[in-house]
Amino acid sequence: MTHVSLTGLKKSYDGKKNVIEQVDLQLQQGEFFVLVGPSGCGKSTILRMIAGLEPITDGELFVNGKRMNDAPPNKRDLSMVFQNYALYPHLNVEQNITFGLHTKKISREEQRRRCQEAADMLGLADYLKRKPRELSGGQRQRVALARAIVTQAPLCLMDEPLSNLDAKLRTRMRSEIRQIQRKLGITMIYVTHDQTEAMTMADRMMILHEGQAMQIGKPLDIYNHPANTFVASFIGSPAMNVMEADVSPSGIVLSPHCTVPNPMKGNVKAASKNVQVGIRPEHILFSAPEQADAVVEVVNTEVLGTETLITFILDNAKEQWIARWNGQWQFSVGDRIPIRFDSDAIHLFSKENGRILWAANDGQPNQTAREVLR
């Protein structure tokens, strides 16, 4: 069942330039939807328009089939978690959690019961009498979550809720939020600039860039089948290597000494143009010298324990490439190593507009992954 629907949503502050350009979106009941993009792309603005904190310039917003463009925030039946938590500093945790429940005509006992329930769920039961300033960042975050939970609103909006937490806590809260959302079956719209959060949490996600929706889809589909170079380099860490290259029917010329087979083979029309080549770091492989596509010069290595990131340059080109190999590899700067490109995993993008021309495996999970799924 469609829960939230945006059609042709636009936002403009000065009446001339649109900061949000034509966003269309249907959210299913119980879906975890992530809006992701770099700062200033308009993701928070969309969220605030859905919440009713920002007027909608053009287009329509439907919640449960009802047009909600002009409804005040409290009539939209939603809860919201803010980046800085927005806790009331003079109220204790319990008062913070139940603040505003009285407007929904909920009895005191019921308020207390819900507060207790949410506090138990989030491990806040021992802190109910404390003031926000006596809590750690993670606990404050939980109070903000609890406040959203107790309203029992079917739709929850979150605006970068984890960005003030340290990396370890963020990882933990990520899975906690996801579990709570599943347990309560609420529809979630989650804004983040962190592609890892988007990839790990989303049922579906939308990538935004300068107010425009670049792509909407399941995280893996987007990862495997990015719509353009922006999405390709935004999703995935480290980012996909994207280079300009000449394509001829015989192959893709990455540098004077390095040509890889053209995955499009017969598609001459696109092949005749200059294109951009995208290849993910994990698809650049270490190779035996006789099978190598190129011998490259190492610029930097980062050993992460289970994997190693190797930054290298190809034939004195200006761009740096990154390869990701499993295991621990020790190279010194300036070492020359033979590498091979997994030619099945090469993406080709148009040079003019960055649109995808050819995706690796055409968006399907690769062979080994599919076998595991079976």
Partner: protein, 232 residues
């Protein structure tokens, strides 16, 4: 004429006499009541105005605010005569109304509170909008408690200013029963040809007392409130 730096004996007679000579108790009460009313009025009006300037969006908000602030440049004495005529035509002379109402709107107080309200995150307002809390309730339950220190600062400031006011009460009161302490003090001084300085000093001490008490009690808050906006 011989003088001694320290008196040979201590006596509280002057204190008793000052109460007999002028109705000091009435004056004290008048001053206290007007100061309290002005304080409450200023806090209420200033905080509501500041709330509007910070949390409500309307066209020309900043312009109105600067207009508001620019009234601080007009000296009080310049507006005194028109104010007096208004009060007179309303028939508010010799009453608490005339002594208090003209001071309710205070540009400085609005400015002070606005600066403090601006440090309150907008998200608090948005969160309460999502929760469905009305503006007035948000103002009352969140903004006022959160800005307690600024409110106390402004409260003390306005109480003391009013307590020490001389010219306006002199204008709008002419009966014993409506006068305030500062005028009473002046009366002590000139009632006789040679002022009895012992009595005058006793009166001054009594009048200063509330001021001092208030200052000591609120000093910490006053300092905190006045410097709060400065370092952030």
């Amino acid at each position: 004429m011989s003088g001694q730096l320290l008196p040979s004996s201590l006596s509280l007679n002057n204190y008793l006499e000052v109460f007999q000579k002028v109705p000091l108790l009435t004056y004290l009460l008048n001053s206290f009541v007007t100061s309290a009313i002005v304080m409450i009025g200023q806090l209420l009006v200033s905080s509501l105005a500041a709330f509007a300037f910070v949390f409500m969006k309307f066209k020309g908000r900043d312009f109105v605010f600067f207009l508001f602030i620019s009234t601080m440049m007009i000296p009080w004495e310049a507006t005194m005569v028109p104010n007096f005529m208004t009060i007179q035509s309303l028939g508010w002379t010799n009453s608490y109304l005339g002594l208090t109402i003209p001071f309710f709107a205070l540009a400085f107080g609005t400015f002070l509170l606005r600066q403090h309200f601006k440090t309150i995150p907008q998200e608090l307002y948005e969160a309460s909008q999502v929760a469905g809390i009305s503006r007035l309730r948000f103002f009352w339950n969140v903004i006022l408690p959160v800005s307690r220190s600024s409110l106390i600062t402004l409260g003390i400031y306005s109480f003391l200013t009013n307590w020490n006011m001389y010219l306006w009460p002199l204008l709008v009161t002419n009966t014993e029963s409506a006068r305030t302490v500062q005028i009473g003090l002046k009366q002590l001084q000139t009632q006789e040809i040679a002022s009895d300085w012992g009595i005058v000093m006793a009166g001054v001490v009594i009048v200063i007392l509330p001021t001092l008490l208030l200052l000591f009690a609120g000093q910490k808050k006053l300092q905190k409130g006045l410097t709060q906006g400065a370092i952030k």
